[in-house]
């Protein structure tokens, strides 16, 4: 019985590795773009400009208030109606970037807002310009507040990549679905899928816990 299972496992495993590779690729590209866009939006959101604040606020509220599946459908099925045709992979990355950047924006804005007003004023009085103030004084201090939840958000984003399976991308979850229709060992298949997600998420969970402790000190 066990050897039978093992044989099946060996048979399907290469297929799963391909799925894992696709998941990792989407996750990695998304984390980078979400972080970049999220930081820029977060800086806008915590700025003095009422217009920037409001615009980003509306964006964040919309993204946080709608399911990710719906957002993917809009990007993949509705945008083409307005003449923006995207292949599934690009659509998945775009949807991830939109969703993830909104969450990271809130984390970054929270971190920046936690820095006392006096730090801004001291930097202003020294003649630093806006970008220098952020780069040299505010962001380095805010990172203490930003990093632990940011890494936690990375874990969530990695798991959210499973949702892009709905537009046909052969990532880990989709591989699971496709396999399970062909072989009867459903439990084994999805245990394996879960295990592979866990392998990439768990180091980040540990990192987040570590950062939380270190930053609190």
């Amino acid at each position: 019985m066990i050897s039978f299972y093992f044989g099946r496992l060996m048979e399907i495993f290469p297929f799963f590795l391909k799925g894992l590779w696709m998941t990792s690729k989407i996750a990695f590209i998304s984390l980078v773009t979400c972080t970049l866009i999220g930081f820029i939006l977060g800086i806008f959101r915590s700025s003095d400009s009422t217009i920037l604040k409001r615009v980003v606020g509306v964006y964040v509220a919309f993204v946080r208030g709608t399911p990710f599946v719906v957002q993917i459908f809009i990007v993949f099925f509705i945008l083409p109606e307005w003449g923006i045709q995207l292949d599934a992979f690009t659509a998945a990355l775009l949807a991830m970037a939109i969703m993830g950047s909104a969450f990271i924006c809130e984390i970054v804005a929270g971190g920046i807002n936690s820095i006392p007003r006096g730090q801004w004023e001291a930097a202003t009085s020294s003649g630093l310009n806006g970008i220098q103030k952020l780069r040299l004084v505010i962001i380095p201090q805010a990172m203490k507040v930003i990093l632990p939840p940011l890494v936690g958000q990375y874990v969530l984003l990695i798991k959210d990549t499973s949702v892009v399976s709905v537009i046909g991308i052969m990532e880990l979850t989709r591989v699971g679905w496709v396999t399970v229709v062909r072989i009867p060992e459903g439990l084994m298949v999805f245990t394996l899928v879960g295990f592979l997600y866990f392998i990439i998420s768990y180091p980040l969970i540990l990192l987040s816990n570590y950062l939380e402790k270190r930053m609190a000190a």
């Binding site: 006096g118 001291a122 003649g127 630093l128 040299l136």
Partner: protein, 242 residues
């Protein structure tokens, strides 16, 4: 050197600066006092545009501070500002705190900026603390670093916003000593403080504010011994007995 012309400022409905007219000549030491909420901090915060004004003009060295076209970087480099709560950058060492503006605003080479920064730290008596972080220093030491951070840009004007109010009594002296030394160098200084000893010793004039207005301005001896208004007399008796 610094001139206020009919300056008005409101925080919502609160008239925090009410028609301020004031000339501070080069090299003058002006002490500003008054009850809390009288607008004295706001007054000096307008000089380097930490606060905006709604009416009137402030001119520093022929530069209208609140004009849109004013080069604020250049202006702020000429004005050092010392805060009540120090506001040192906690993630940087003492030396990095002091070097930050020369390197990033004046674009001096690191070696040169470090040399100047160390000179200023020596001036406030903290050379040996240059590698320490602000959290490792006492309040008095932190405030002296903050003064060095202001001096490092070689400003012509130093503004002090209650520099000793957040300090334990035994640390006030060391900060005031540093400030007295600055006076002897001919620095133009505006100091919001209730340290009457300091005012009597070094101030050229004392300005008394209440409810956003300049109530009295004059030399310290006259002001303390012979105040012209009841409001000032009441205030002086309160801070002397406290």
């Amino acid at each position: 050197m610094i001139e206020f012309k009919n300056v008005n400022k409101w925080f919502d409905k609160l008239h925090v600066l009410n028609d301020i007219n004031l000339k501070i000549p080069k090299g003058e030491v002006l002490v500003i006092c008054g009850p809390s909420g009288s607008g004295k901090s706001t007054l000096i915060r307008c000089i380097n545009r930490l606060e905006k004004i709604q009416q009137g003009q402030i001119i520093v060295n022929d530069t209208p501070v609140h004009d849109k076209s004013t080069n604020l970087t250049k202006l702020r480099a000429e004005i050092g500002f010392v805060f009540q709560q120090f506001h040192l950058y906690p993630h940087m060492t003492v030396l990095q705190n002091v070097m930050l503006a020369p390197v990033n605003v004046k674009k001096l080479p690191k070696a040169k900026a470090e040399k100047i920064a160390l000179e200023k730290l020596e001036q406030v008596g903290l050379t040996e603390k240059s590698a320490a972080y602000p959290a490792q220093l006492s309040g008095g030491q932190q405030q002296r670093v903050a003064i060095a951070r202001g001096l490092v840009m070689s400003p012509e004007i130093m503004l002090f916003d209650e520099p000793t109010s957040a300090l334990d009594p035994e640390m006030i002296g060391e900060v005031l000593d540093v400030m007295v030394n600055l006076v002897s160098e001919g620095m133009t200084m505006c100091v919001v403080t209730h340290e009457m000893g300091f005012a009597k010793k070094v101030a050229d004039r004392v300005l008394f504010m209440d409810e956003g207005k300049i109530v009295e301005i004059g030399n310290p001896t006259d002001f303390f011994d012979n105040p012209q208004t009841d409001r000032a007399a009441e205030f002086i008796s309160k801070i002397l007995t406290h």
